[in-house]
Amino acid sequence: MVAPNALVGKVNEILVQAIGEPLRYLVNWGRLYSLWPVHVETACCSIEFGATHGPRFDPERFGLLEAFGSLRQCDLLIVFGTVTRKFAPRLKMIYDQMPEPKWVIAMGACAITGGLYFDSYNVLPGIDDLMPVDVYIPGCPPRPESVLQALIMLQEKIRKSKLR
């Protein structure tokens, strides 16, 4: 093996600085305006997500398509509320089937801590140990405006994130 030339290393550094940053910006820009959610309803918060898709709130302004078909084309998993013991393994499976990069929004008090059903025998206290969560939306159920705010927060997060 030949020892790496110092000059080559310098050129490489300059190239990374020149190309890496614009490339990161470009790729992240594409991702943040094209978040397609998975169609999976876990509990009652889905009704407010349905209302979010209505003309008054219209998340397609931010590039969020209407509820989408197959998992293979989705980027965003929004967990609408309560996750029961019967649903939890399926939710994990859904998360595993989605292609990288993917993001998770936990919507509603139930998805964060179990919420009103903290003492139920069949409800998981939050989804944190099932999957990594990017944005939490508190509320029971959250208003559509909160959902849009969470979306904007997620976009900010993607904009600042490293290139994956």
Binding site: V38, H39, V40, E41, T42, A43, C44, S46, I47, E48, G50, A51, H53, G54, P55, R56, E66, A67, F68, G69, L71, T82, T84, R85, K86, F87, A88, P89, R90, K92, M93, I94, L116, Y117, D119, S120, Y121, N122, V123, L124, P125, D129, L130, C140, P141, R143
Partner: protein, 378 residues
Amino acid sequence: MTSVARSLPFPTEVIVGDKLSISIGPQHPGSGHFRIIVVLEGDIVSEAIPDPGYVHRGAEKMCEFRNFVQNVPMLERTTLPDANGIIFPYILAVEELMGIQAPPRAQYLRIISAELNRIVSHLYWLGIYGVFLGHSTMFLWPMGDRELFMDLIQTVGGTRVTPSYIIPGGARNDLPDNFKDKALKAFGYFERRLKEYDRIFFSNPLVLKRSQGVGVLKRSEAIALGITGPNLRGSGLKSDTRKDEPYSMYETLDFDIPSYPDGDCWARGMVRFHELYWSMQIIKQAVEKMPSGPFRSRLPLLTARAPAGEAVARTEAARGCMSYYVVSDGTSKPYRVRVSVPSFRNMIGIPYLLKGGHLADVPAIYWSLDYWPVEADK
């Protein structure tokens, strides 16, 4: 906590015989929080097995550990689209146990809030029914117009979907002054919109092809299977708890029960479509006839006790006859609360109607029953 999630079993595929069986749900664009295992022979469904329980949160058990009043917000979360409708009979049963009588103004306030929620629930149904048939405009128009009635509910109860408006002893607060003008303005607009809905969806020849003669539920079968609500009325029966056993002040109001004899998806849809109109008429009359006076008898204490006994109460919620069976043992917590929800009663229609139909009719029939899995699982 972590061990709970780790110990969960890996979901296995259900295979019925040697036929092609597909799972519609729980992650599927054509299902909610619910699974139907559909066994296919070609394009024909030879067997359909419903698999509920993905949102079973044990509401009945949790009721036994909460006070009578604390149960109100917990129980209404089982049916968010119809929160006032589902809590109504519980309040009637608790009032019967406690021996409280709501003042007349509160009776009308309850009618207004329940009918507003019926409109909202039917519009949500219409939106999802549209998108299940592939009609994207019929998803977005009802969802947009639904916001008008959401605003009205917000004016009455304070929040969008969980107002907890009906409480033992009356209503939580009085109607604001601007409600009448706001409501009449919204109704005037929405009555015009109903004609457009009819033109673009209910009279669309392709929608008629998709829904007429599909999933026919005969009159006698509807009775035997215990089907309730608009689905029962779609099978030619004029049965509605609001007329059969008038509660609150429904006997003073003049309204009609829409009913269609066909028993197919289209008839069930038309029943709901007409109920949208009649609910608005009911609210208009209730606002006119509402007497002045107190809107609740007294604020119920958190530790209010009910004498030992049991009560059965029922009302007509958006999805059908909603009934509660409440047993009290003299303490401040109910001994047993049985939530008998219309969706759970209508679930028996899903395997019955899907059998022998086409695969493409599965979402149409499933949603024409207005089955709300959260409600059925409790």
